[in-house]
Amino acid sequence: MTNWIDIAALDDIPQRGARVVKTSDGCVAVFRTADDEVFALNNACPHKAGPLAEGIVHGKSVTCPLHNWVISLETGQAQGEDDGQVTTYPARIENRRILLDRSFLRAQAAA
C-alpha cells in the first residue's frame, strides 16, 4: 500500500540541487536533476556518512562533498571503484509538487 504525501513544491529545490527532509530516523535527501526528475536517498554516504544533499548533482548522480564518492540517484549504488549502497525511497512529481511515500519511509525506519 502506498501513502504518498506532499512534501514541497518542485521549485523549492533548484535544478541540479537537493534539500533534506527530516524524519524521526535521520535525514532523507531529495534531489532534483536538470531534467526535473526527483530522487530520495538516505542523506548519508556509505563511505563516511557525508551529507549527500550538499553534493554536486550531475546527470543522475551526486558527488559526496566529503571525499568525492559518486552515488547513483537511481540505485543508491556507489559508482566507479568505490563500493557501497545508499537506501533509496520512492519519490515522484505531481502537478509540480514533490511526493514521497510515507509508509515506505516508516517501514525503512522500523526495519
Binding site: 523549492d12 527532509v21 527530516k22 524524519t23 535525514c27 563516511k48 557525508g50 551529507p51 566529503l66
Partner: protein, 809 residues
C-alpha cells in the same frame, strides 16, 4: 674505378649530399674543403649557442669519426684558391687535388653595407661559429651593442646578446621587423615582445657611418642620431658566395646558375645550397636546400631526379616567439582578410582569401595550426564551407571532433610534418611501424623534428595517433572524463568563441555527458565568470558546497564560520559580537586561524543565515575562508608600533584586502604584508607577498606553505602603496584569466614562467588593462554573500520538510 668527388664547403646542404651518397654506397672518394676550421654543423642552431642554451658540441652534425668511417679527406680551415676546369683540379692553400666530379657548396656571404668604418674592429657579421664566438666574447665584456638589420638573423643576434647582458639596439631600414615574412600587425607584436625582453628597436633607421678611431665606438644614422656601441653586428642580408665559380668561368647571375639536376654550366661541376640560382630563385631556408641535396646525390649516382621550387612556408621561432607565414599576404583588390587577435596572449592570426581560396597566412604567438593552413594554401582548397570558423583552425571545422589528435589523424599520408627535412606523415608512420616508438627514435631514423624542432609537437601527435595507448603523450590531460579537451583548450574556446554559458561550452566543446560532473563544472563556472563577468551568471549548483553555502563543511556535516578581520585587525565590539554569536548558536569550538582571524566551528546548516545576520549587524562580513578566492591579507604591525617597521604594513594590508575581497581565483589566494625584511607576517610563503623596505615595497609571488612549501619570487619593487595595489590587482587578474582551475600561483608560474608574468606587469598598458578588467569583475563580485543569503536565501538553508515533528505528534 672509384671516382673522385671534391666538395667545396661543409654546410648544411653539402653535409646532406654526403649522407645520401654514403647511404647509397656510391663509392666516391671524397675530399671536403671548408674555409672554417671545422666540419658540418647545424647552422640554424647558432642562435641557441649565442644565447647559451646549447654548446657547439650539441649542434655538430658530422664528427671526425663519421668522416673517417666514410673515408672523407677533410681539408678544414683551408681556403680554395682556384678551380681548373681543363685539368679538373681544385687548388687549396695547401695543394692541389684532382676531381672527376666537383660540388660547389660555398653558401652565402653576409652583405656589408658600404659605409665609413665598416672595417673597424668590433664590427662583425653573423654567419658562422666564429662570428658567434666573437659575439659571445664581446658580450662577456658587457656594454652596448647595435645590430643593423631587423630580419631573422639580426633579431636572433640581438636577443642572444641581450640574454648575455648587453644593452642592445636594433636598427631596421624598413617600417616593421621581418617585413618579408610578417605583415605589420605581426611585426608589431614581435617588436613588442622583443622590447619586453629589453631590446630597443628603431625602424626606418638608415645607417650612414660607423664611428670609432681604433675600435668601433658608435653608429650614426641619417637623421644625425648617434648611438654608442662597443659592438656592431651587421645582419642586413646575405648574397650567394660565387667568387670561385665566377673565376672558373661558370655561368653566374645572382647565384651560380644550375639546371634541375643541380649541374652548373660545366656538367661535371654541381652546385648546391645558398650559392645557387635556379630558375631565377635564390634559396635561404633549409627545406629547399635539403631537396637540392637529394637531387645532387641522385644525379651523382645517375638516378633520375629533378629539383622543383615548392611553395614555401616560413615557420620560425624568433627568440621564443612563434611565428609563421606562408603564401601571399599583401592587401589587394578582391582579397578578403580574416583576422583573429587575442591581445592578452599576444596572439595574432591573419588569413588572406581570394575567390574562396586561402592564399596567404600570417600567424604570431600560436602557430599550432600552421601546417593545416599551409596545406589549404598549397592545395588551393575551396574554403567557402568553413569560412566562418576557418580562423580557429582544423579542430573547429564541422563534424570533426575537437581533438588535436583527430586533426593529425585526418592528415593524409603525404602531408608534410617536418618542413626542414621534408618528412611526410608517411615516413614517420613507416618509421614507427619499423620500431621507432618515441620521439628520439623517430628523430634518429627520419630526421623529423631534428633541425629547427618546431614540429616536435606534431611528431609526438603522429606517434600518439599511430601507437594509441602504447604512446604516453607528454602533454596536458583532459579536464575529466566528460571531455577530451584540456583546461587550456577549454579556456581558449571560451575566450575565442565567446562561450558565455555552461551549455554553450558543453555543446561547442563536445561534452560527452549531459551536464558535466563535479570535476568540470566548478572549473567551467570559474572560467566563465572570470572571462565574462558581466554576461555570465554564477551557478551555485556548479560550486562545491563550501562556496554554495559560504561556509566550510566539516566531517560531521556542520559548518565553520569565519568573519573577515581586515588585515587581522579587530575591535573589542567585534570580539564581543563573535562571543555572543558563539554562545547563541552553541558553537562547540572557537579557534584562532593562521590567517589572523577567528573560526567558529560546528555550526548547523540551518543556523548559518542567522549567525551571519548577527555578525553583519556588528559590521562584519564573510571572510571567504571557504573560497577559491581572496582569503586573507596577513599583516604585521608595521610603523604603527614596531621599532623596526619601515612602512605602514597594516594599513596597506587592509587596503589590499578591501580592494581584493570577493574576487574568485583559480585556487585560494593568500596574501601578507610584512613591515620590514624580518618578515613577521611570513609574506614570502604566500601566493602574493609584500615586504616593505626603506625605499618602497617588494612584491613577490608564488609562495606556498601547504603540500608544497615554496618561497615567493620577486615580481617587482615599487615605491608607493598605489603601485603595490595596481601591481597586485594586475597579477591577480592575469592569474584569473590564464591559470588552470585549482592551480595555485606557484603552479601557474611554473608553467608560464615568472619572466612572462613580469613582462605583462612591467608593460604599463598591459598592467592598466588588467587592473581595469579586475575592477570590472569586482563591480559584480566585491560584496558580502552572507548579507545576501541571510536576507534572500535563508529559507534554502532549512529542511524541506520535517516529518519527525509530525511523527512525534
Amino acid at each position: 674505378m672509384t671516382q673522385k668527388l671534391v666538395v667545396i664547403g661543409a654546410g648544411m646542404a653539402s653535409g646532406r649530399v654526403l649522407e645520401h651518397l654514403f647511404e647509397a654506397n656510391a663509392g666516391y672518394d671524397v675530399t671536403l674543403f671548408n674555409a672554417e676550421a671545422r666540419g658540418n654543423y647545424n647552422r640554424i642552431m647558432l642562435s641557441p649557442v649565442l644565447s647559451g642554451e646549447k654548446t657547439y658540441d650539441e649542434i655538430v652534425t658530422h664528427d671526425a669519426d663519421w668522416y673517417e668511417a666514410n673515408g672523407v679527406t677533410c681539408r678544414f680551415g683551408e681556403h680554395v684558391t682556384a678551380i681548373d676546369r681543363e685539368a679538373k683540379t681544385v687548388t687549396g692553400q695547401n695543394g692541389t687535388v684532382a676531381y672527376d666530379k666537383l660540388l660547389i657548396a660555398t653558401g652565402s656571404a653576409p652583405f656589408i653595407i658600404p659605409v665609413q668604418g665598416k672595417d673597424l674592429p668590433g664590427v662583425i657579421t653573423y654567419r658562422d661559429l666564429d662570428d658567434t664566438n666573437a659575439m659571445i666574447d664581446a658580450a662577456a665584456k658587457g656594454g652596448k651593442a647595435v645590430v643593423i638589420g631587423g630580419g631573422l638573423l639580426g633579431l636572433e643576434a640581438a636577443a642572444g646578446l641581450a640574454e648575455r647582458g648587453m644593452e642592445v639596439t636594433v636598427l631596421h631600414l624598413m617600417g616593421h621587423l621581418m617585413e618579408r615574412q610578417l605583415d605589420e600587425s605581426a611585426g608589431f607584436l614581435l617588436r613588442r615582445d622583443l622590447q619586453n625582453k629589453g631590446v630597443r628597436i628603431i625602424c626606418q633607421a638608415s645607417t650612414v657611418a660607423i664611428l670609432g678611431e681604433t675600435h668601433v665606438e658608435g653608429v650614426m644614422l641619417e637623421d644625425n642620431t648617434g648611438l654608442e656601441a662597443d659592438l656592431v653586428v651587421m645582419a642586413v642580408g646575405i648574397r650567394p658566395e660565387t667568387r670561385l665559380a665566377t673565376d672558373a668561368g661558370l655561368e653566374v647571375a645572382r647565384g651560380i646558375e644550375v639546371n634541375a639536376q643541380m649541374q652548373t654550366s660545366d656538367l661535371d661541376i654541381y652546385a648546391v645550397g645558398e650559392c645557387v640560382e635556379f630558375d631565377g630563385h635564390l634559396f635561404g631556408l633549409v627545406a629547399p636546400l635539403y631537396d637540392q641535396a637529394k637531387v645532387v646525390a641522385d644525379s651523382l649516382v645517375d638516378e633520375p631526379n629533378a629539383f622543383v621550387v615548392k611553395e614555401l612556408a616560413t615557420k620560425l621561432k624568433v627568440t621564443g616567439c612563434d611565428l609563421f607565414s606562408a603564401g601571399d599576404f599583401a592587401d589587394g583588390d578582391g582579397r578578403e582578410d580574416i583576422v583573429f587577435r587575442d591581445p592578452a596572449r599576444g596572439v595574432y592570426r591573419r588569413l588572406v582569401i581570394d575567390d574562396d581560396v586561402l592564399i596567404g597566412a600570417v600567424m604570431y604567438g600560436d602557430t599550432a595550426d600552421s601546417n593545416w593552413f599551409f596545406g589549404l594554401i598549397k592545395d588551393k582548397t575551396d574554403i567557402s564551407d568553413m569560412r566562418d570558423t576557418l580562423i580557429f583552425g582544423p579542430a573547429y571545422q564541422g563534424g570533426t571532433p575537437l581533438d588535436p589528435l583527430a586533426a593529425v589523424a585526418a592528415l593524409p599520408r603525404d602531408a608534410e610534418i617536418c618542413g626542414c627535412n621534408g618528412i611526410c606523415k608517411r615516413q614517420i608512420e613507416d618509421a614507427i611501424a619499423a620500431g621507432a616508438t618515441d620521439l628520439g627514435a623517430v628523430r634518429a631514423t627520419t630526421k623529423a623534428s631534428g633541425s629547427c624542432g618546431t614540429c616536435t609537437g606534431l611528431v609526438e601527435q603522429v606517434l600518439a595517433v599511430t601507437l594509441g595507448d602504447d604512446f604516453v603523450m607528454p602533454a596536458a590531460q583532459s579536464i575529466c572524463a566528460c571531455t577530451d579537451m584540456t583546461h587550456e583548450d577549454v579556456r581558449r574556446m571560451i575566450k575565442s568563441r565567446a562561450l558565455k554559458s555552461m551549455p554553450a561550452v558543453w555543446q561547442e566543446c563536445g561534452w560527452k555527458t549531459s551536464c558535466g560532473c563535479h570535476v568540470c563544472r566548478p572549473a567551467l563556472n570559474f572560467y566563465l565568470l572570470a572571462d565574462w563577468p558581466l554576461d555570465y551568471a554564477d551557478d551555485p549548483q556548479s560550486r562545491f558546497i563550501n562556496e554554495r553555502k559560504h561556509a566550510n563543511i566539516q566531517k560531521d556535516g556542520t559548518f565553520s564560520v569565519v568573519p573577515r578581520m581586515w588585515g587581522g585587525i579587530t575591535t573589542p565590539d567585534e570580539l564581543r559580537a563573535i562571543a555572543d554569536a558563539a554562545d547563541k548558536y552553541a558553537v562547540p569550538t572557537v579557534k584562532v586561524t593562521g590567517g589572523q582571524r577567528i573560526d567558529l566551528l560546528g555550526v548547523q546548516s540551518e543556523d548559518l543565515p542567522h549567525i551571519w545576520a548577527d555578525l553583519n549587524a556588528a559590521g562584519m562580513v564573510s571572510g571567504h575562508a571557504y573560497s577559491k578566492g581572496l582569503r586573507t591579507v596577513k599583516t604585521c604591525v608595521g610603523t604603527d608600533h614596531c621599532r623596526f617597521g619601515t612602512q605602514d604594513s597594516t594599513g596597506l594590508g587592509i587596503k589590499l584586502e578591501k580592494t581584493l575581497w570577493g574576487s574568485w581565483t583559480p585556487h585560494k589566494l593568500k596574501l601578507a604584508v610584512s613591515g620590514c625584511p624580518r618578515n613577521c607576517a611570513e609574506a614570502t610563503c604566500k601566493d602574493i607577498g609584500v615586504v616593505c623596505v626603506d625605499s618602497g615595497y617588494q612584491v613577490s609571488i608564488g609562495g606556498a606553505a601547504g603540500m608544497d612549501v615554496k618561497e615567493t619570487e620577486l615580481l617587482v619593487q615599487v615605491a608607493t602603496e598605489d603601485e603595490v595595489i595596481a601591481v597586485i590587482k594586475a597579477v591577480t587578474q592575469l592569474y584569473r584569466e590564464n591559470a588552470k582551475y585549482l592551480d595555485r600561483i606557484y603552479k601557474w608560474m611554473a608553467k608560464v614562467g615568472l619572466e612572462w608574468i613580469k613582462e605583462q606587469i612591467d608593460n604599463p598598458q598591459t598592467r592598466q588593462a588588467l587592473v581595469d578588467r579586475f575592477e570590472l569583475s569586482q563591480s559584480i563580485y566585491r560584496k558580502d554573500p552572507w548579507a545576501e543569503h541571510a536576507a534572500d536565501k535563508s529559507e534554502s538553508y532549512q529542511p524541506l520538510a520535517n516529518l519527525a515533528l509530525e511523527a512525534a505528534e
